[in-house]
Symmetry: C2
Subunit: 416 residues, 2 copies
């Protein structure tokens, strides 16, 4: 009721200020004005400790800048557009590497001046390339760029659904086809990206979107009691550590992707599954009752995961949890979801942000101590933090707009 | 003096008992009597939590069993030989995968029944294959097997010194040739393995051994003030995180490889460098003054490493430090080295062994709490712990044999 509305208004103000501050941090420290693109290895106080350019993070930063520029009035600034364009130009010029198969493959990592250092045998560099190009094309209205995004998307679909040999992994008899959560999640995200406000494209990718949702739902295992990160191609549990692995942050991220999908279609069944299985379940099983925060990895049978960092508290599962819980609350108005949101909110904002140096720390020990003190690194760029703040601000705007009359009444009563 | 001798005798007894107990653990839990080879994913109390067979660890366990069988009377037991032979047969039958180039490549990971799951684009599976086959051939006197080890060695030399394209990594313009410590270290280890008590083979690999030593010495950087894990092919410092990375455990392991090499040749210059630069320096810079124990990774300029596990305390750097410090002491008789050995000994035996479940824990937090509670995993097998205990027992045998007169005198005096 009124308490929640007041508290949500405080959250909104705080999140808004955090987003402004985080955007300022990256505008100030990350731009390479010589070669274009972004430095992402940024230390505690803004120092660049490595000049390598990670393609995932280049693509994500272009996307995030463009999204903010396009949809939030106060970020419609020339310097943001200029940096996004320079990042896009850098990616177009350098990210794609020639491959013997003639297929488009993106590097994982480039030197400051754009020479390829490493290529991964997975689809994710290409996914963030598509995200960047599509969103940039919406800002610049560059039709060629949008076409390029769709061409790369066709390549991705071919790798995932037809023939993955172009990714360069040798076919091995013991390497059974696996449905890893990341793949359908990422493709669903791209379907939503490419389809937004474009009827023709929406129809083109409708079947793919539905397929992605089904692939994601296959990760509900153990009679609905757990989300598993990897399942077999036919949706059954895989043996060993791989099969038992849980990644609560990933499940929560899939949760809000599904909630968006359900909302677009008014699909209550997917909405219910998303809330119960992909939001409530991973939040409950992933939360560390002893020290607070979300574990990075867990084993569904309680064995110790083999990932050395399993018990660490990373920034991004908390970012995704905030979006998922707030979106689930806004769609369902279940009070428990708002309470869970406040619990994650409290942990997140008392542990991750660095008021002195700006931005968030990314990696805490299980007990909540900062374990790695940089603000950007090979996997932490301008993405999860600002996307979380941006999404939460928008959801809070909607929630508070709808409760404004109620708040007014409470305030008037209070002054009498 | 006398105090040290008494203390060293206590160490020897403890280490001997630890080695017996660790061997018992693996004999009891790790053997796959159905398919041959070894389970290595072994939980806190001996339970197998994953049946995958990691080729590094298969090869290392064959090597360690054979080495114990061949050189330590109390381990000359039929069950050890039988398990080593079964492991060797499993490796020979399943580890090598066909490659398009016609070159021999070993898998990184196999299913329980030997189907290849993953192939790495590096040389290490093949290195441990050579170690296993050579040591097994010494026990079984199988000349074909020894020949096979040398053939695989030729393949390794070709990849490292002539043409690495057969490893399957694409050539990329930003991927400059790098001298990573692991490569010359591993090859030097194999030279020593293949050459032991074989004059012809020793001569065949003499130039390679010398080249490996020079490649290792190139890692002494910053005017002798630091060992860096990766340097350029011409021995200069590389830019960024890669160039600044330090791995104290690795440097210490290289240290005792160099000490062995120096002792075989009576080369005092290499001995001095090994002690000062590869034992004392990484021990001093790698030791955590606040919480004790050796860091896993450090950045030479004090930046935060990007490896999430950088501040964790792993079992193997401590195993390597014990060997390196004790060997350096036995060669130099510098009292400070013995003090350092006792410091690492104290930390190691008060933190890693699990008296209840047997074997050692492998992964502690910076503060020394067990972070991963399994006894074996994808990278922890029957190798670093028993090799450390075996090497230290031997060195202590030598040290104590030479001080026996002195100890006797002290004891006699004490009783007067």
């Amino acid at each position: 009721g009124s308490m929640s509305a007041v508290k949500l208004e405080e959250c909104r103000q705080h999140i808004r200020a955090q987003l402004d501050s985080v955007v300022d941090f990256w505008l100030k420290y990350s731009h390479d004005t010589v070669h274009g693109g972004f430095f992402t290895c940024i230390g505690k106080d803004g120092n660049i400790y490595d000049e390598l350019k990670y393609v995932w993070l280049q693509g994500r930063q272009v996307w995030m800048y463009c999204r903010l520029y396009r949809t939030v009035d106060r970020f419609r600034k020339p310097e943001i557009l200029k940096a996004a364009k320079a990042g896009g130009a850098f990616l177009r010029k350098f990210a794609r590497v020639s491959s013997s198969s003639g297929q488009w493959k993106c590097a994982f990592c480039l030197t400051r001046d754009g020479k390829a250092v490493k290529v991964q045998r997975s689809i994710f560099s290409e996914c963030f390339y598509v995200m960047a190009m599509d969103e940039l094309s919406r800002v610049t209205e560059d039709q060629d760029m949008q076409l390029e995004a769709e061409q790369m998307m066709e390549q991705l679909i071919h790798w995932v659904r037809v023939d993955g040999s172009g990714l360069g992994r040798p076919q091995l008899p013991g390497d059974v086809p696996t449905n890893s959560m990341a793949v359908p999640m990422m493709l669903l995200c791209l379907v939503q990206q490419l389809s937004e406000d474009r009827r023709g494209v929406e129809q083109k990718y409708a079947e793919l979107g539905s397929w992605c949702v089904q692939q994601i739902l296959q990760h509900v295992q153990r009679d609905g009691a757990a989300i598993l990160e990897n399942v077999s191609a036919d949706g059954s549990e895989l043996p060993g550590c791989l099969g038992r692995l849980q990644n609560p942050g990933h499940a929560l991220e899939a949760g809000w992707f599904l909630l968006q999908y359900a909302a677009e279609r008014g699909d209550e069944q997917i909405q219910t599954t998303a809330i119960q299985k992909f939001v409530e379940l991973p939040y409950e099983s992933g939360w560390d009752k002893a020290h607070g925060g979300l574990f990075y990895f867990l084993d569904v049978d309680g064995h110790c995961p083999t990932q050395l960092e399993w018990s660490m508290k990373l920034w991004w599962p908390h970012s995704e949890a905030l979006i998922a819980l707030l979106m689930a609350y806004s769609q369902s108005r279940k009070a428990e979801l708002l309470q869970s949101f406040f619990q994650v909110y409290e942990y997140t904002f008392s542990h991750f942000p660095d008021p002195a140096g700006g931005e968030w720390f990314g990696y805490l020990t299980q007990e909540g101590k900062v374990a790695l003190d940089f603000k950007g690194g090979p996997f932490k760029g301008f993405f999860h933090v600002p996307r979380c703040l941006y999404m939460c601000e928008r959801i809070l705007d909607d929630l508070l707009a709808n409760s404004i009359t109620f708040i007014t009444i409470v305030v008037v009563k209070g002054t009498v």
